[in-house]
Amino acid sequence: MFWRKKDKAATPAVEEVIVQEAEVIAEEVVVAPVEPTIIEELVVAEPTELVKVELPKRNLSKGFKAVFSRIKFDVENLDDLEDVLIQADFGVEAAEEIVAAVKVRAKKNGSKTEAELKAVLTELLTEKMSRTDAALNLDSGAQPYVILVVGVNGAGKTTTIGKLSNYLVEGGAKVTLGAADTFRAAAVEQLETWATRSNSEIVKPTVEGQDPAAVAYEAVEKAIANGSDVLIIDTAGRLQNKQGLMDELGKIRRVIEKQLPISEVLLVLDSTTGQNAMTQAKAFTEVAAVTGIALTKLDGSAKGGIVYAIQDQLNIPVKLVGVGEGIEDFGFFDAKEFAIGLVGEK
């Protein structure tokens, strides 16, 4: 959900809640666990100004694929669990740590059968990965909420923006997109296609190869002027070891912040990425203060285990998950779903 000021379009927001209720019933509640805290905080902070706008629910258990097709999972084979986790891109260190924790807990609980051990693993992963800050930061009331989207080349930034934009628009939000990827050939056109598909506004560079910071600045101006609820800014893909390009990202960020606070800096991570994802998360956090991760391409055979280590070590929550090329193929990250999907336990 997101929160908007009451004086703006209060009536449609109520309608949205009703419209969305059908979906809520049909699909599993994803963001539910974090709702209560947010409501309390906000009620205290700005009780009269904000109204809650319910957003569509998404279920994405299809994105999480089980890792245990190959090994027999029992007490004797617990060390094989390490291999399985490594193959899911958890990394050697995290895999060792998880196996050790499973052993301890299994011993304590007296878990012996495969089902029991799987339950232990699911529980452990859920605990380790559950966070209270996994929802999008769209609750400060400082609209338009600015979402800056960053990542390496080919991670799926533009596609993620298209899906997110569509989702927010479906929920009744007015969305503007800022095409600050002025580098890649036809990136602006690609974003424009998504803007059309998702019924959102777009701010494009006025000249080819314009300074992306300038585009970002104009996008903020326009979003304020047209009364947008959310502004999503696309940036060019950059490898994290390219200092010049990373500095450019810092500049984009500073330019935006001259006019509006940035609610969310989303780092888009390709779930097929291996251990380099950690380096990416570190580098982007350093220059752009990443507040959340969007894990893309989970519809493939990749498991995206590296996010475990990233959440653990860098304290950055995974927020969004992309599961395909369709505009609806996206949802919110849920630790329990992730754990259940991975372990393959009912």
């Binding site: 899911a88 080919g154 050939a185 296609t193 070891n241 291996g274 380099n276 391409k297 493939g300 090329e325």
Partner: protein, 492 residues
């Protein structure tokens, strides 16, 4: 977060001393670190397991080099094996006998196919080809547009009859592009296809249909060097689904260690042809297995260390050899040992560079045919130990036997023995302080009558015999030394 492999190996190296043979324990402790490093570099687990097992087996059988401690030696074996899997030599693009040569690109979404298509086109254009880019990615929004912009940047025409964005049939586009290319006489057709998941059967079938329609000479599998454990599944899926002939590794300008390269090379058995290394359209180069091997293990400094150790070791050997020469105790056995050492080092140049007086002849070192070393080795191996130690006993029947045993001719045997004699004597002179590199120097005074006779022969060019050639290159020209009348009356 993690110390790199070099740092951790230095820890492992501590306390280990060179022994006669590598002990299983030495090997295992080193291999544990290597295994971890490979996994952290995203080499697929199954590939790591096979690889480590192979290295272990080889390491157990290896004699310990005097120059290296056991851990270093294991690392060296690892490096060598990595290079073997990554492909000893980069293969080149296979061009069709009758143009156009068709190159099809396939890979996951976001692996960098479209950008690569542009780079490849530019590279081919610079090689004098006339490439045509074909927009068969009708899936991703504005992929066609992107290819058109790229085509414009590199000055290569783009065949794009369909606007894309989900409409149009890529198989038809591919088919038509070949006709178009034939008509307009393009020499190479580069087919950009939509990114697809390994598990998407429908899109995989489409890729296969494009393949059937265009009958490409190369199907290049484009893979992001940052990919993790899934590389194996993806590579298998593309190998089974489309069938690939080569691999291109993209985004190598990033800081990913690129273990995927090893996984893909191992799983598909297909060579890695190119690497893509930057944003610019010219950031594209042939793949270098040795660089990749060092990158995956992240142990450049360790390898330098090993190289240095090895080098000083060889220098030591060379000294011993020189001493032997001086004492006239240089035998065919030593000669064989040198050959083996040369082979082990990979280049005769290294060996020769260490020999006194060879420094100034570096240019000529390039002419050496490494294959001939094998022939020489075969001949020496066909001799009895006694013959090797004392070539003077080689009579006609022995020579015939050796020739038969080595698969060479008697002339070859004669030639080798002759050149060996010359080399040995020259080396002896040299070691005693003569300077064979300077023409006109008469070291073998007693045989001064011979040079004239030999001069004519030497002018014919370099000897086909490596020993002689080695001698020549080392600056020991037989005619000038005047000793080519061999002990057997066959030489000169």
């Amino acid at each position: 977060m993690f110390g790199n492999l070099s740092e951790r190996l230095v820890e492992t190296f501590k306390g280990l001393r060179a022994k006669g043979k590598l002990s299983a324990a030495d090997i295992d402790s080193t291999l544990r670190e290597i295994r971890r490093a490979l996994l952290e570099a995203d080499v697929a687990l199954e590939v790591v397991k096979t690889f480590i097992a192979a290295v272990r087996e080889r390491a157990l059988g290896d004699e310990v080099s005097k120059a290296l401690n056991p851990a270093q030696q294991v690392v060296q074996i690892v490096q060598e094996e990595l290079i073997v899997i990554l492909g000893g030599e980069a293969r080149r693009i296979q061009f069709a006998k009758n143009p156009p040569t068709v190159i099809m690109l396939a890979g996951l979404q976001g692996s960098g196919k479209t950008t690569l298509a542009g780079k490849l086109a530019l590279w081919l254009k610079e090689q004098g080809q006339t490439p045509l880019l074909v927009a068969c990615d009708l899936q991703r929004p504005n992929a066609v547009n992107q290819l058109q912009v790229i085509g414009e940047r590199v000055g290569v025409p783009v065949f794009a009859p369909e606007a894309g964005n989900g409409s149009g049939n890529p198989v038809n586009v591919a088919k038509d592009s070949i006709k178009h290319a034939k008509q307009k006489q393009f020499s190479v057709v580069i087919v950009d296809t939509a990114g697809r998941l390994g598990i998407d059967e429908e899109l995989m079938k489409q890729a296969n249909d494009i393949r059937k329609a265009t009958d490409p000479d190369e199907v290049l599998f484009v893979i992001d060097s940052m990919i993790g454990q899934d590389a194996v599944n993806v590579a298998k899926a593309f190998e089974d689904g489309v069938g690939i002939t080569g691999v291109v590794l993209t985004k190598l300008d990033g800081d990913a260690r690129g273990g995927a390269a090893l996984s893909v090379a191992q799983v598909t058995g297909k060579p890695i042809l190119f690497s893509s290394t930057g944003e610019g359209m010219d950031a594209f180069e042939p793949f270098y297995p040795d660089r990749m091997a060092s990158r995956i293990l992240d142990m450049g400094d360790i390898l330098t260390l090993i190289e240095q150790a090895q080098k000083s070791f060889d220098e030591q050997e060379a000294m011993v050899m020189a001493e032997k020469m001086a004492k006239d105790a240089f035998t065919l056995e030593d000669f064989l040992e040198q050959m083996q050492q040369i082979k082990k080092m990979g280049s005769i140049k290294n060996m020769l560079a260490m020999m006194p007086g060879a420094g100034k002849l570096k240019g000529q070192l390039d002419n050496i045919d490494e294959k001939e070393i094998a022939h020489t080795e075969a001949i020496i191996r066909a001799m009895t130990p006694k013959e090797r130690r004392d070539p003077k006993i080689l009579n006609g029947s022995r020579r015939l036997r050796i020739a038969k045993g080595s698969g060479m001719t008697v002339t070859d045997v004669n030639s080798l023995v002759n050149r060996f004699e010359q080399a040995a004597k020259m080396m002896k002179t040299m070691a005693k302080g003569g300077n064979p590199g300077i023409p006109g120097m008469p070291p073998g005074m007693g045989r001064a009558a011979m040079p004239k006779q030999n001069k004519g022969k030497a002018k014919k060019g370099k000897s086909g015999n490596p020993a002689k050639r080695a001698a020549e290159i080392a600056g020991i020209e037989p005619p000038k030394q005047g000793n080519s009348g061999s002990s057997f009356g066959l030489g000169g």
